[in-house]
Each structure stands twice: as structure tokens, then as C-alpha cells.
Amino acid sequence: MAQMTMIEAIREAHDVAMAADERVVVYGEDVGYFGGVFRCTAGLQEKYGKSRCFDAPINEAGIVGTAIGMAAYGLKPVIEIQFADYVYPAYDQIVSEAARLRHRSNADFTCPIVIRMPTGGGIFGGQTHSQSPEALFTHVSGLKVVMPSNPRDAKGLLLASIADPDPVIFFEPKRLYNGPFDGHHDRPIVSWKKHPLGEVPDGDDIVPLGKAALRREGNDVTVLAYGTMVYVAEAAAEATGVDAEILDLRTLLPLDLDAIVDSVRKTGRCVIVHEATRTSGFGAELMSLVQEACFYHLEAPMIRVTGWDTPYPHAQEWEYFPGPGRVGEALKKVMED
């Protein structure tokens, strides 16, 4: 065990995977010599050489397209898109190519690539450094979509993603890189240094894809959350005193439906929280699944707490960001209904 930030945990996952398997190559914008603008790949070029960790030209379609070609050859590219907000030029390569390669070639060619990208807001990044586009990827058959919320999961899930035979979109909530964040932006910054989830196992232990984690046990309402919103939900439960059960979904696709259904059947209530915009967001999918599986167990209408359907604003960040106040209101409301 070692105490780490999420950045260090991600770096270590790369290190472990690169040491174990020569086929793992790592690249992206500013990823090589500098080690990435968030430093998640620092030291890898020095350790594994320039052919296994290098800077890419600024062309996201090119980064993903070449990764698909490398995977077709037999390598395992782990690539970085500098911010999730900049993935769109690569969307065609991801959706039309990476996601379908196995199916359309009947596994003649496959695409074991990991596409990492910092996601989410809370850093005053405005509309081009704050977006949460996970639903654009969960809508695509053939992709897996992962979002860790702490250093321990980040390392284990990244190792599982690299080992996975299919393309994985790996979202890293950038506001969590250096510490958990519960939305109380006016309070002192908390670091991972003393946090139990900052304790990261050594070696190559994976956290399996498709398994949610129970972050808080409770009896009154199930909160489905992932990424930064896990901490916001915890803070809201503490503040309101509502006995909430908080599930950190960790993998959005494939989803741990069993964990969700077990919890909602127990509590009979459900609040869904995500930072992304509401309309056609991942919360809509979660609501449908819960409705299909738990309708007769529900005692109140489900509630979604999400970002608003606007571009992510700069000055109004904290009015946009679904903070503990809004989540707390939803918890109280779902208990009154």
C-alpha cells in the first residue's frame, strides 16, 4: 500500500502495465517528455523510451485513429485526450471505427485501446475545460465507459481497462485529481494524503469493470452517482441527515444493474446525480432501468440532480455545478413524496 493522489495512481497503473506488457504504448498531446498537462504520464518516457511513450501532434482524430491501427497490429495503446472537451474531433474514429471493429470483422480485428481523458468541472475552466460528455459514449454499442472517483479505483480500473479486450473510454474527474471534492468550494481543499481511498495497493491488482461500489450504507434512499458527485452526495447526506445509501457506479457501461436493483428494492427511493447536462444524460438511462426493474418497489418518483442544459459557464460555475445544496433538497423531497 502507498498513499497517493489520483494523478500518482494513474501514473502507477501505466507503469505497472508498461512493465508487464511490452505491447502497451502511451501517447497524446504533451504526454511524452513533459508527462501530460496534469502529469499523469510523468516519468514514463524516461523509463520506457520514446517509442513507448511520446508526444502526439494536436490531432485527436489522428491520436485515436493511429491507436486503432496499432491495436489492429497487436499493440495495446493507452492514449490521452488532453481534456474530454477536445474529444469531438475523434468522435468518428471512436464511434464508427473503434466501437464496431470487432463486430463488423467478426473479431478478425479487435480494438483493445484505452482512451483516457480528464472530465468534469469545478476548476473554473469554462465551456472548454469542464464538460462531462459520458452519455455521448454510453450511447454507443461496443464501447466500455469507466469513471473512477478515487486513487484506489483509478489505478485498479485503469489496469482492468488496459487488460480489457475492447475499447474503453476512461474518464478522470479532474477536480478529484488532487483530493476529494464535495462541492463546498468555499472550504479548505482536502487532499488524498490522509484519505482511506488514497491508499493504493501495490502491484497489479485490478478493480473489475462493471462493478459498482457501496460508498455509504443507508436505508431510506438510494443515490446513484459517479465521479465527483459521489462526494457531493456524501456531503448532502451528512448535512440533511437523510439515511442515504450511496452507490458509486464506477463503470457506466457495462453497468452493475444488480447492485442498483438490490439497493433500490431495499430503500424504495432513488436519486440520481450527475454533473453532465440533463436532457438525454446518463441519468435518463438509469431512471429507465430502475423503473423497469423496481417499479413496484418505488415509494416516490425518482429525482435527477444534474447540470443544467446550458453550455458550462465560467462565472456561474457554482450555480451550474450540482452542489450539496441541490442534492440535499432532492434527498429531502424524495423522502417527503
Binding site: D55, W308, D309, Y320
Partner: protein, 411 residues
């Protein structure tokens, strides 16, 4: 594997100099000022292919303006140009500092690149449209866009013309020929070609200018822009600002095997020129030539402005982690403000005292405006735009779901 070939290896270009190395620009060929002839504006792009490998320069080591490209500006205009660049630099320094004091979230400066946007601006006419990146605020300063409005946006205060929605420095002003900056690299380069095509479709005489950084030329949008500009002979000037770095990545990663960025134009049959981006007179003269070509329907021009990003990429960046601290000082094309100042002194139209006095006046002006902006508000101190503003302007008419969400939000 065939027996007669050795194993392949990956070519990853490296800059000449990393932290700890001493910078060496001896491989960097700098033609003498005045040595590149100025062709007629209706020249066949094929006949000036060598211009993509040379550098148009006007100011020589002694501060004299020499050669065919000299003589386009009056001394009054040159003094004004100097003032624009000095204003931009002072403005940047104050705003960098304001960011450090926590008054705003983020800032990007132009240090060392002031000539590019300030001089180019002079070649454009009212009604023309720039599609800038975040490092061309000189286009606004030189067009007398109110500095107070710029600061209000940087502070995201209640007078921010973009209502706090957009990042600091991602300005927008149709009136000043300045298209809204998005922040996504490369996207706007191709839009400039579309704007120019629209001018041609409409039988107008207005032209557009696209802007892109060296690193961003790697984006597919760059190539899309080039093919559309080439096919439709769009009235556009396509500017590459080669400041040698894209955050931590040196220009060789985007340039690859081609000799220069300007040479990319050749495959598209586009007139392509390199210019000394730290030479105010050269930038202006080349810009004027290219704008005239565009306006006369003679086709697009690709200009590579050869310059150096003397500061960090942004307030989030510390370049000492990836390049030598002494590289900026070793940059062989010097400093644009210093060079224009020397030129004016050489021709007897400026002096050290006048320069000092101008510096003091400009600082005074910027500080006065800054106080005014800070009195309106800053991101840190509040008096920021209303949360209502984030719901406005998503559509022309707010749809019912947004009205409901705004009510739910309590605004």
C-alpha cells in the same frame, strides 16, 4: 521478417534543447533583411515556392528598414504600432498579475509575439473578419476595442460583454472584425474560409483572415481549410503563428518531415510565405500583400509568422519543466518592441526618453482602466453576472425546458 532489412524503429522528433542544455539556434537559417523580393500580387503561387522556405524581413541589425517590402508605413503609423505593442505587453503583464492575485481564473499572454497581431490588424479594413486564436488580442488593441471591456471580460464581472459565460480572453466583437474565440483548436481556421467564400458568393469585397498556432496545424481542420480555400480560391489570408511551442511540445511534432509550415501550402497550390514575426514592418507588409491578393480575387495566401513564445503557454504553465530557461533570450529574431523602437530611434523619430515616457503613460492608462474594471467587480470579489445569464442565449427564444430549469435553479 525479411533478412535483408534491419528492424524498423519509430521516429520521434526532439527539440534541440531541453532544460539544462544550452540553446543553439545555429541551424536556424535567417536570410538577410531585404533579401527576399516582393512579387506582384497577381503572381502565380508556383513561381514563389521558394518564399515558403525563406523569411521576409525588413528591419536589419542596425535598425534600418531595407528591401522591397520596406516603406509601407509612415513614421506616425510606426509610432502608433509601437504604442499598440507596448500597450498589449503592459496589459498582459497587469492581467497576468491579476490572475496571480486570484482576481480571475486564467490568462494567456503574447510576450514576444506582439508584432504579429498588432501589425496584421493594420492591413485589414473595417468590415473584414478575423477568426483569431487566444493569442491575437493585438487585433483588438490595434483597433481601439475598449480595454475596459476586455478587462471586464477577464474579470467576468457584471459588465462582461459575454455575461460570464466564456473564459477570460476568449473575446468576441463583430464590430471590430473579431470572431468569437471558442478555445477548441483549429475549428475556426476552416470557418474563416467559409466566411470568405460567403463574401465571394455575395459579390462583396470583404475578406477574412484565419489564425492558427504551429501545433494546431496538425488538426484536421487546418487541412480542411486549405482544401476549401484552394478549391474555391477563397478571399482569405491564412495565418500560422509559429511560436515554436505548443504547450510543452516543440514545433517539430506538428511539422513532421516538411521543411516549414508554410510549405504545407504547396500541396494545395496556395501562395505561401514565411515572414519574420518579430519584425513589425515585415508582418505588416506581407499582410498587406496577402490582403490585397484576397481582395482582388487572386486567391488565398498562407503566411507563416516565425516568432517565439517568450512566456509560459498560460497561467497554468511553467515552461522551465520542458525547455531551457535561456532559450527565449537566445531566440535569434529578437524582441518585436525592442526592434521597432530601435528602428524609430535609428531614423531619428524616437528616443530612449520618449520611450520611457510612453511606457509610463501606457502603464498609467492601463492601471487606470484596471481600477475602473475592478471597481465593477472581479471573479474573486463578486459582482459577477447573474446566474440568470447562463440560461439566456442558449437559443434565441428560451425553450420551455430551460425556463423550467431556470425556475428550478431559483433565478
Amino acid at each position: 521478417m525479411s533478412d535483408d532489412v534491419s528492424p524498423l524503429s519509430l521516429n520521434v522528433p526532439e527539440p534541440g534543447c531541453r532544460p539544462g542544455d544550452s540553446p543553439d539556434f545555429s541551424d536556424f537559417e535567417i536570410p538577410r533583411a531585404g533579401s527576399v523580393p516582393r512579387p506582384a500580387v497577381d503572381v502565380d503561387p508556383d513561381e514563389i515556392r521558394d518564399m515558403a522556405f525563406s523569411i521576409v524581413r525588413v528591419l536589419n541589425k542596425n535598425g534600418e528598414a531595407v528591401g522591397d517590402w520596406a516603406g509601407a508605413l509612415s513614421t506616425e503609423e510606426l509610432r502608433e504600432g509601437l504604442r499598440h505593442m507596448m500597450t498589449l505587453r503592459t496589459f498582459d503583464a497587469r492581467m497576468m498579475n491579476a490572475q496571480r492575485q486570484g482576481k480571475t481564473s486564467f490568462y494567456m499572454q503574447h510576450l514576444g509575439e506582439e508584432a504579429v497581431s498588432c501589425a496584421f490588424s493594420r492591413a485589414m479594413q473595417p468590415g473584414d473578419m478575423n477568426f483569431p486564436t487566444y493569442r491575437q488580442a493585438g487585433l483588438l488593441i490595434a483597433r481601439d476595442y475598449p480595454m475596459l471591456t476586455m478587462m471586464n471580460q477577464i474579470y467576468s464581472n457584471a459588465e462582461d460583454p459575454l455575461h460570464g459565460r466564456q473564459l477570460p480572453i476568449m473575446y468576441s466583437s463583430k464590430e471590430h472584425g473579431f470572431f468569437s474565440i471558442s478555445g477548441n483548436l483549429g475549428t475556426q481556421f476552416v470557418q474563416s474560409v467559409g466566411w470568405a467564400m460567403a463574401s465571394a458568393i455575395s459579390g462583396d469585397t470583404r475578406i477574412a483572415a484565419g489564425w492558427i498556432g504551429d501545433g494546431s496545424t496538425a488538426e484536421s481542420d487546418f487541412h480542411a481549410a486549405m482544401v476549401f480555400a484552394s478549391t474555391y480560391k477563397a478571399p482569405v489570408v491564412l495565418n500560422i503563428v509559429n511560436n515554436q511551442w505548443a504547450i510543452s511540445t516543440f514545433q517539430g511534432i506538428a511539422r513532421g518531415g516538411v521543411g516549414t509550415f508554410a510549405a504545407r501550402g504547396h500541396g494545395f497550390g496556395i501562395a505561401s510565405i514565411r515572414v519574420d514575426g518579430n519584425d513589425y514592418l515585415a508582418v505588416h507588409s506581407v499582410a498587406k500583400w496577402a490582403c490585397e491578393r484576397a481582395r482582388r480575387g487572386l486567391g488565398p495566401t498562407l503566411i507563416e509568422h516565425v516568432t517565439y513564445r517568450a512566456g509560459g503557454h498560460s497561467t497554468s504553465d511553467d515552461p522551465s519543466a520542458y525547455r531551457s530557461k535561456s532559450e527565449a533570450a537566445a531566440w535569434p529574431l529578437g524582441d518585436p518592441i525592442e526592434r521597432l523602437k530601435q528602428h524609430l530611434i535609428t531614423i531619428g523619430e524616437w528616443s530612449e526618453e520618449r520611450h520611457k515616457q510612453a511606457e509610463a503613460e501606457i502603464l498609467d492608462q492601463v492601471v487606470t482602466v484596471q481600477k475602473e474594471a475592478e471597481a465593477v467587480g472581479t471573479l474573486a470579489a463578486g459582482k459577477t453576472p447573474s446566474p440568470r445569464d447562463m440560461f439566456e442565449g442558449v437559443y434565441e427564444t428560451m425553450p420551455s425546458h430551460l425556463i423550467r430549469q431556470r425556475q428550478e435553479a431559483g433565478f
